[in-house]
Assembly symmetry: C2
Homo-oligomer: 156 residues x 2
DNA sequence: CAAGATTGATCACTCAATCTTG
DNA sequence: CAAGATTGAGTGATCAATCTTG
């Protein structure tokens, strides 16, 4: 979004701005990495990325439990989607619904012992899939600089 | 648990690496921007982001036409999804199927005059939605540095 | 048989409506 | 009435299978 000094935008009708092009790269990178992680997770477990993120969020929370709204933020989905997501996780005993005593409208989604065990197995699979996907993406000259920038931004 | 009150109590078995955290930010940013653009496009037109990207790809191609595989790369979807995508675009006369004379297995998806007109109207809507989404995302301290890095990477 | 495209079945996500509780 | 969660209906994306052509 930084102002570009002395470059006139292309007058070609239908041409995207520099920012538009940048976002196009982000979408491409995201699609590639996301698809790869999704496939790898489903190949090894009985769930995909949304379920993994939900388990991760619960595992990191106090008492291993979170409410629908909190989970929605953590997995980037809405209430409705999360309600169905935790129904899937519950079917395989990875999480369980716990009633909230102080506000009976609320429902806690708590990760089970089995859920913790499976999640721990999934973490290294996820991390490996992520690294592999990025290695693959770096082969694309248009994506390599973006891949580098992302990790550099959050390198501690 | 919690036997060490010192530093790094997050050395828990289920903790994500720095790269893992970085990708979490990317997913959050992508979800927010993607959702916003999708909603804005559908509010103004009769299609969403995938259709917009397909129109953009065709508009930028020689003769305004592309084959399924090329479109699949441009919009980050597979053959099957693109086949249905162009069926939708065809229903509203934004594109048309053109047979390939030299390889009758192939099919060209060509943007129509009407498609070009609508696409030109959509570009500024898309660009504005993109900027608005990023402005919103920058309000989140964990996403701001990523937002900056993305545009800086392609600002040449 | 391989490559390109389409179709049937299935699934995850979304919106809108509904139900319950504060 | 507002907030939190769930459910019904509809859509877009995917896999696998199929059809056609090289």
């Amino acid at each position: 979004m930084a102002a570009k000094p002395t470059k006139a935008p292309k007058a070609v009708p239908g041409a995207l701005s520099a920012d538009g092009v940048a976002w196009t790269r982000v979408m491409a990178l995201h699609a590639q990495v996301d698809n790869h992680i999704e496939r790898v997770l489903r190949r090894h477990f009985e769930f995909g990325l949304s379920e993994f993120l939900a388990l991760a969020a619960c595992a990191a929370a106090p008492d291993g439990e979170l409410r629908i709204q909190e989970l929605a933020t953590a997995v980037n989905l809405n209430q409705s989607s999360v309600s169905r997501l935790i129904s899937r996780l519950e079917r395989t005993e990875l999480t369980e619904r716990r009633l909230c005593e102080y506000d009976r409208r609320g429902v806690y989604t708590g990760i089970t012992e089995r859920g913790i065990e499976i999640y721990r197995q999934a973490v290294p699979v996820y991390e490996t899939a992520l690294r592999d996907a990025f290695t693959q993406a770096r082969a694309d000259a248009t994506l390599a600089p973006l891949a580098d920038a992302i990790f550099a931004t959050y390198a501690d």
